[in-house]
């Protein structure tokens, strides 16, 4: 039973969260200039590292998407931060 910190709500149970995507997947645009391979890479590829990872998560109860840095093996949570552009 893991516990993740929502940058706004504070620590909550894993059941309140939904994994969205690994961080750093910039959407390639415009569509007309994006190759099939580049689009597939954006859509589907994941590093799935064994160790530290940075991911976008959704806190289901408040609806906030945020960045979570954690270890996929030890399950230690290192940091959680709002998406860029959120006033502190």
């Amino acid at each position: 039973m893991q516990r993740f910190p929502c940058p706004f709500c504070g620590p909550r149970d894993e059941t309140e969260f939904h994994f969205a995507v690994e961080a750093g997947h910039a959407r390639p645009e415009p569509a007309g200039a994006v190759s099939d391979a580049a689009w597939a890479a954006y859509l589907y590829e994941a590093a799935s590292p064994k160790g530290t990872t940075r991911e976008v998560w959704l806190h289901l109860t408040c609806g906030e998407y945020f960045l979570l840095t954690r270890d996929t093996l030890t399950r230690a949570v290192n940091a959680s931060e709002p998406l860029p552009g959120v006033a502190p």
Binding site: M1, Q2, E14, D36, A46, S48, P49, T72, L73
Partner: protein, 416 residues
């Protein structure tokens, strides 16, 4: 290979069982092999066996970082089935089931394939329609699928919940008579023994730390037991595959999750089929030892840790008791988790990847055990011929760029 039979048991019994030989030889690495397979689970060992048996390639090594069969092969709920929707999937999983059907005799090791039949149970008219869609798809693809009505289905699972306040009543479902279970460890050991007898080196506690590439082609691997040269590398390492492919800068469409399985205390026979409830997502069978073996959904937090968490345990257990209220008498004996590699379209990846000479067989997600013979057969074909078998071609990594996904969950409404 020392032959196993009732007679040999009798003979050895009289001799105090002193004459049994090691099931497989404990090999140490040679400097070079014709083919190296990373991963000593069912898929890797089956690959080695079929390479030797069907393609005559015996200068083959299987590298296992722990002990063979210790990954997902030994951590699943042992279900074998081919009740799939897309023809590509049916061809793949039915190849596996057909190979399973002859396996014990072929490798002279009883893998205890118990074709006790499997019911996918539906509860609403809408689910019955989906079940009919799948049953017809199976029939068209030459597989024994059948839509079953309420009475017939209920007769297969006598203890299923018939209370008026059941959340999900059994309306019927899809029946596959050839589906069932097999003894998971025996599959790994049996393949290992048969491969070893054909000359394959099975090397345990040997972890791969790097992949050597020259001019775009694989030349060998670095391991904790030293470098090994090879020009053909097969990777059948499930959740460890993304990390291995990172050595050659290939990123895969894979997320790793923990999948839990549960075992109750053993009881006398009370469930003679494999049952999956669409309503609860829980599946269950009873082992020969009498334990109820059950599981459900993934722990939805990407991980490489072989540990499960409480919320899923509670949900899966509640699902089981909703299906079988009488099982509320029982206790949980064991629980474990495997790390499963889930592909975006929930179908496996089989085919070349990265440098020339590297072939992968991964992404089986929650459904790898049932596919072991096919996974091995197809990866062996790739390693031996360098090209796809017709059955593996649709599962090539290129399907993502081409937009040709094989999404069973989406196609059938039923996840693996």
């Amino acid at each position: 290979m020392q032959r196993y039979s009732a007679l040999s048991l009798l003979r050895q019994g009289l001799a105090g069982h002193k004459g049994w030989q090691s099931a497989w030889s404990k090999a140490t690495p040679k400097p070079a092999y014709d083919a190296v397979i990373i991963g000593g689970g069912g898929h890797g060992l089956a690959t080695a066996y079929y390479l030797a048996k069907a393609h005559g390639l015996t200068r083959v090594a299987v590298l296992e970082r722990g002990w063979i069969g210790g990954g997902n092969t030994g951590r699943n709920t042992t279900v074998c089935r081919s009740n799939y929707f897309f023809p590509e999937s049916v061809a793949l999983y039915d190849l596996a089931l057909r190979l399973y059907e002859g396996l014990s005799r072929e490798i002279n090791y009883n893998v205890m394939l118990s074709q006790r039949g499997m019911l996918i149970a539906a509860h609403t008219p809408a689910q019955m329609e989906i079940c009919n869609r799948i049953a017809n798809a199976m029939q068209i693809n030459g597989v024994d699928g059948k839509l079953m009505g309420a009475a017939e289905a209920a007769a297969k699972v006598p203890l299923a919940n018939t209370a008026p306040d059941a959340r999900y009543k059994l309306m019927g479902g899809i029946w596959q008579g050839r589906a069932g279970t097999a003894r998971h460890d025996a599959v790994a050991w049996g393949y290992a023994r048969a491969a070893s007898a054909l000359g394959v080196d099975i090397i345990e506690t040997c972890e791969v730390t790097g992949i050597d590439v020259q001019d775009g082609a694989v030349t060998g691997v670095e391991t904790t037991l030293g470098p090994i040269r090879t020009e053909r590398l097969g990777i059948a390492a499930a959740g460890a595959t993304p990390g291995l492919m990172a050595h050659v800068d290939v990123t895969l469409p894979i997320h790793d999750y923990a999948l839990q399985a549960f075992v109750s205390e053993p009881v006398k026979p009370c469930l003679d089929t494999v049952l999956l409830y669409l309503g609860t997502g829980t599946y269950v069978s009873q082992s020969d030892k009498g334990e109820l073996v059950f599981g459900g959904g993934l722990d939805r937090v990407p991980t490489h840790g072989q540990r499960g968490n409480l919320p899923v345990q509670e949900a899966v257990t509640a699902g089981l008791l909703e299906m079988f209220p009488a099982f509320g008498q029982l206790r949980l004996l064991r629980q474990w988790a495997g790390v499963v590699d889930v592909v975006s379209d929930s179908s496996p990846l089989i085919g070349p990847a990265g440098p020339e000479g590297v072939f992968i067989n991964c992404g089986w997600g929650t459904g790898g055990f049932k596919a072991i013979p096919a996974g091995g057969w197809l990866l062996a074909h790739l390693l031996a011929k360098g090209t796809h078998h017709e059955i593996s071609r649709p599962f090539d990594l290129r399907r993502f760029a081409e937009g040709r996904l094989i999404d069973e969950a989406a196609g059938s409404g039923i996840a693996h």
